[in-house]
């Protein structure tokens, strides 16, 4: 599904990622973990086209997507969410999700001007589709609120709903549980599993170990810019290197 091969990222004199390779299989929930500064967010920014890496390639479903801008990636069915949620604050919750479905809209500016009735019926369709995603994430009763007025936890759900509305086959989430209380985190775990059940591959960077161990099929551990380990949650929990990286060596 997604293959990261020998990715290196150097910022000035600092090597943020060094020769990182892994592949993610379709339909899995994969967690990327590691201590602070391990390069997790950098890795995400490279995969989603926000940074351009110094070396290495990113391949999505057999297609080299190295250096493609985010809007192209969204059209190739890869979306992401942010650690600090990024919403269209002055628009309503429903409109935020509708904008996510923008890529599916066939009517451009001219069509809107010339074929008004057709684009109105299309708008209705999109409105309905957007509502479905709000129901899926459980925030449909907030549809008419402005996005900027939402509490953080609901904002995160909205960001996920908007990302799903794009129609992704793979979704990358940057610390989805950050800033959520334990109750909300439980709900999130449930939601992520439901997303996987839709056939969408999920990749997440996360610090909440309980969440990661609970929902992930595979885990990739980064430390100081390198891949330290890769495996099932159980393998990772038992890995000596991982324990050393998190808790420090005995010697």
């Amino acid at each position: 599904m997604l293959e990261v091969s020998a990715v290196t990222q150097i910022f000035g004199g600092v090597t943020a990622l060094e020769n990182v390779s892994f592949s993610i299989s379709k339909g899995d929930i994969t967690g990327v973990i590691g201590p602070n500064g391990a390069g997790k967010t950098t890795l995400f920014n490279i995969i989603t086209g926000i940074y351009k890496q110094t070396a290495g390639r990113v391949i999505l479903e057999g297609r080299d997507i190295t250096g493609l801008p985010p809007e192209r990636l969204a059209r190739l069915a890869m979306v992401r969410t942010f650690q600090n949620i990024e919403l269209f604050g002055a628009m309503t919750v429903l409109e935020n999700v509708m904008v996510g479905m923008h890529t599916k809209s066939t009517s451009g500016l001219l069509a809107c001007a010339l074929k008004m009735p057709w684009s109105i019926s299309e708008e209705k369709k999109i409105r309905k589709g957007a509502m479905k995603w709000l129901e899926f994430t459980g925030i449909s009763e907030l549809a008419d609120h402005t996005a900027g007025s939402l509490p953080f936890g609901k904002g995160r759900l909205l960001e996920i709903a908007r990302a799903l509305a794009v129609g992704p086959r793979i979704i990358l989430m940057d610390e989805p549980a950050a800033g959520l209380n334990s109750h909300e985190t439980l709900g999130l775990a449930q939601l992520i599993k439901q997303i996987r059940d839709l056939g969408i591959t999920v990749v997440l960077v996360e610090h909440d170990m309980e969440l990661v161990m609970d929902i992930c099929d595979r885990i990739i551990v980064l430390n100081l810019g390198r891949k330290l380990a890769e495996g099932t949650p159980r393998e990772i929990q038992e890995s000596k290197e991982v324990i050393a990286a998190y808790l420090g060596d005995d010697d």
Partner: protein, 293 residues
């Protein structure tokens, strides 16, 4: 007598104000989609008037055909402007962009002077010049054209931005460009759209005002600045606040010219502009509740 005069000045002020509003919305649309203050906006207004003249006199088209011809031609210039002057910039700074738009505005004005000459040209009114009496004041049919066309354009604008996906996507770009890119909106295409809409609206403003004020290669400078002033009063919103900004400006200008001295007509606009920038740089209605589109 005095009251009739005030009514008269207010009515004609409203119609010039409507023009300022249209131009101001053109400024706001580009500003909100791109962060650029397009100082060439006034030139689109000038081109609207002069292309209509070309349609009427050179191509001998009837008025109903000259108007779409002129809007199309101006929009093509708007597209070329975005493609050739704005898009090639890799890391544009606001200062670069200001200089580029001012440069382009001078270029367009220069070319217009070569093409249409330095003369002032008159364009026929859309439906005659028989004044219509309203109370103790009179207005021209063209004034009504201006008000009605402005209302229609603003309604279409509102519909586009709030009830179509493409319009919502454009608003999304203005709220959060990064997130817009991430949900698959091609931000650069939206920038092009914003230039298309703004140049077309500028052209419409130039066309409907031309029969009243005549048109020449250099009318864009003053109209552009007045439109900018309307947009500043409205806090760079492309919604109703800029319309109100334009109307306030038009009425004050007209009252000032009539009651104080017509020599101060333009000065009034700039005094208002300066006052707003000093006292309420976020616009008369504040950033919080202005719809920035």
């Amino acid at each position: 007598m005095q009251l009739d005069q005030i009514l008269q000045y207010t009515l004609s002020g409203l119609s010039t104000g409507a023009i300022y509003a249209l131009i101001g919305i053109g400024f706001s649309i580009i500003y909100n989609a791109t962060g650029i203050i397009n100082f060439a906006q006034g030139e689109f207004v000038m081109l609207g008037g002069l292309f209509t003249l070309t349609g009427l006199q050179l191509l001998h088209l009837p008025l109903w055909a000259s108007v779409p011809f002129s809007i199309t031609a101006t929009t093509v210039i708007g597209i070329l402007f975005e493609r050739l002057a704005i898009r090639p910039l890799r890391q544009p700074t606001p200062l670069n962009l200001v200089i580029i738009t001012i440069g382009c505005s001078i270029l367009i004005r220069g070319l217009a002077m070569l093409f249409w000459g330095k003369d002032t040209h008159a364009i026929q009114s859309f439906s005659g010049d028989n004044p219509i009496a309203i109370g103790g004041a009179t207005i021209l049919p063209q004034h009504i054209w201006i008000l009605v066309v402005t209302l229609i354009i603003i309604a279409i604008n509102k519909f586009y931005f709030y009830h179509t996906i493409s319009g919502k996507a454009m608003r999304a770009c203005s709220y959060n460009r990064r997130a817009a890119g991430l949900v698959g909106i091609d931000v650069r295409r939206m920038v092009l759209f914003s230039f298309i809409i703004s140049s077309a609206m500028g052209a419409v403003a130039g066309i409907i005002v031309a029969p009243l004020t005549m048109t020449a290669y250099d009318v864009g400078v003053m109209l552009g600045l007045k439109g900018f002033c309307a947009a500043i009063i409205g806090g760079m919103s492309s919604g109703i606040s800029t319309v109100i900004g334009g109307l306030i400006l038009g009425v004050l200008e007209s009252l000032g010219a009539g009651l104080i001295s017509s020599g101060y007509k333009d000065a009034i606009a700039f005094i208002i502009l300066l006052l707003i920038l000093f006292i309420r740089p976020q616009g008369l209605f504040g950033k919080a509740d202005s719809e920035r589109v």
